[in-house]
Symmetry: C2
Subunit: 321 residues, 2 copies
């Protein structure tokens, strides 16, 4: 159910993606380009996959000067920047707050001044903390366990405030655990990238706890599809879960990788971490209802794509390739 | 139902009050002193009511150096500091985040290092935003309308995180609208202080909207009693509403002042503000259950005390005077 290019809707509409040089951006920008949008990427580093049709502006999103020029003429802002990772954010929560939260408020101020019409914010299922029930729907209490989720939650609240005060329309997508091509194994971005990388190298896998913890793994191109639908929709003031709606344990992920690579993977178990919830799966009924979106790539098929990409030299690829 | 001094429990226990020189602190510190605690006040300015028995340390709570010495030997920390006011926090939310939120995280880090046993955080009913039902209980959704409430909410989440990660016990009190002796009329701290001040001067009162908005006004000494009970209790990880449990409109407040001062007050109506909720009243059943606390001063009696205090020259007074 990919959104097809529809130039009547998208032509002459300009989209800025902050933090666009990263994992999600590498898929999202091409998809937006294919859809007919005018596409601009704003990041500290130039992406290696940059090509004509995508404008790049180098800058730090916490510096208002460079933001102002990046936002010139922009209709829609997709805010992907995160200066921290979920599992490391609690090492320095002050940095998390000063960079991500204060930085995002600066971005909102600039967006209001630049008359941006719509903002899509990439939040996280980390805002829920330890689920009382699974699957988790959007009205579940929000008690994040670590700084990453606290900051995402605070940004969600500021988005509501900026709509009330300044009319800045926004849509919040609470993403589950993403995986897919272009995800780096070396920066701890995701378990599937790390596990596939280790499996292909024949190295042992380190697991915190027994491997029974259940996560909702979402293939990156499904996430990009959801973001695009949020851009095109007129939903505002909403927080919407974007996940597979299904759960898989770390052990199931490893078994799937084993069956796809044909080899046994050595597991090394480390002690549990206090901030690891036992299980989280997202209820994605709202995404279906509001955005007409649902994921189309199951876990086995998605992991196969990651393995294929790693085996063929980790080349960057266009969204529709 | 004032907590009586009980030296067996309080003796040799040291309490630090950050932001202790302000309105709440001016009542709280004397009450703690009377209870038998060793009392220390930490603030940027020396309070005019300082007297022997209360140790004062001058400093900015965002500077880790001065915090470290203030926290030396402290068992219980009561965090009253707020660098912003509810109704002005949205003018510069970045400042709110950098000072109150990042500053409080620094305080928590220092409290963990200094082995503080217990922390009482003064939060606000502003975390609820626009109530779906009244009275509001603690499990009500939290969608604050302005930065003040967003920052308070984020701090509540960090307190949970610091308990999970470092075992720092804490109790959060969500206070309603405070009023009472020592509240300043000139800094916009509270409607009752401003209205009484204007009434006694024979000046007109400015009201945003029709005056029908309903708030839960709590007399400051009742709030101090609740804080003291939270210090003495072993409730941890809890957020507890502290309010009168009753609602009064601005018009009712003005009518009460008129009947107590015996004169008609001129009202000047200004346009409504988008962040003013129509009505908020707190459900205080949890405070009764968990802290054995309930307020003892009704609105009329409390306003009479404010008027008496203003008429007799706004002198500082001991808690039990």
């Amino acid at each position: 159910m990919t959104v097809q290019p529809c130039r009547g809707v998208t032509e002459n509409r300009s989209v800025l993606v902050t933090g666009g040089s990263g994992f999600i951006g590498s898929h999202l920008l091409f998809h937006l380009l294919d859809m007919g949008f005018r596409v601009r990427c704003f990041d500290r580093v130039k992406p290696p996959w940059l090509q004509s049709g995508i404008e790049f502006i180098e800058g730090d999103f916490t510096a208002s000067q460079s933001l102002a020029s990046a936002l010139k003429g922009v209709d829609i802002l997709i805010h992907l920047v995160s200066t921290t990772l979920p599992k490391t954010s609690h090492d320095d929560p002050q940095f998390d707050v000063m960079s991500n939260l204060a930085g995002t408020i600066g971005l909102l101020n600039q967006a209001v001044q630049s008359r941006v019409k719509r903002l899509i914010f990439i939040s996280s299922c980390a805002v829920y903390g330890r689920p009382a029930v699974n699957p988790v729907c959007e009205s579940h209490p929000t008690n994040p366990l670590f700084s990453y989720g606290i900051v995402k939650l605070a940004i969600e609240k500021y988005l509501r405030m900026y709509y009330d005060l300044y009319g800045l329309e926004s849509c919040v997508l609470r993403l589950s655990n993403l995986y897919g091509e272009h995800q780096r194994a070396d920066t701890g971005q995701g378990a599937i990238a790390i596990f596939c990388d280790k499996a292909l190298k024949g190295e042992p896998i380190e697991i915190w706890g027994s491997g029974a913890v259940v996560r909702d793994y979402l293939y990156v191109k499904d996430a990009v599809e959801a973001i695009t639908r949020a851009v095109l929709s007129d939903e505002s003031g909403a927080e919407i879960n974007i996940g597979s709606g299904k759960g898989a344990s770390l052990n199931e992920v490893i078994e799937t990788i084993e069956s796809l690579t044909g080899g046994k993977i050595e597991r090394r178990h480390l002690p549990c971490r206090p901030f690891d919830v036992e299980e989280i799966r997202l209820d994605i009924a709202e995404a279906k209802r509001r955005l007409g979106w649902e994921p189309s790539t199951d876990l086995r098929k998605g992991i196969q794509k990651v393995i294929d990409w790693m085996k063929t030299g980790k080349k960057y690829m266009r969204f529709h390739s």
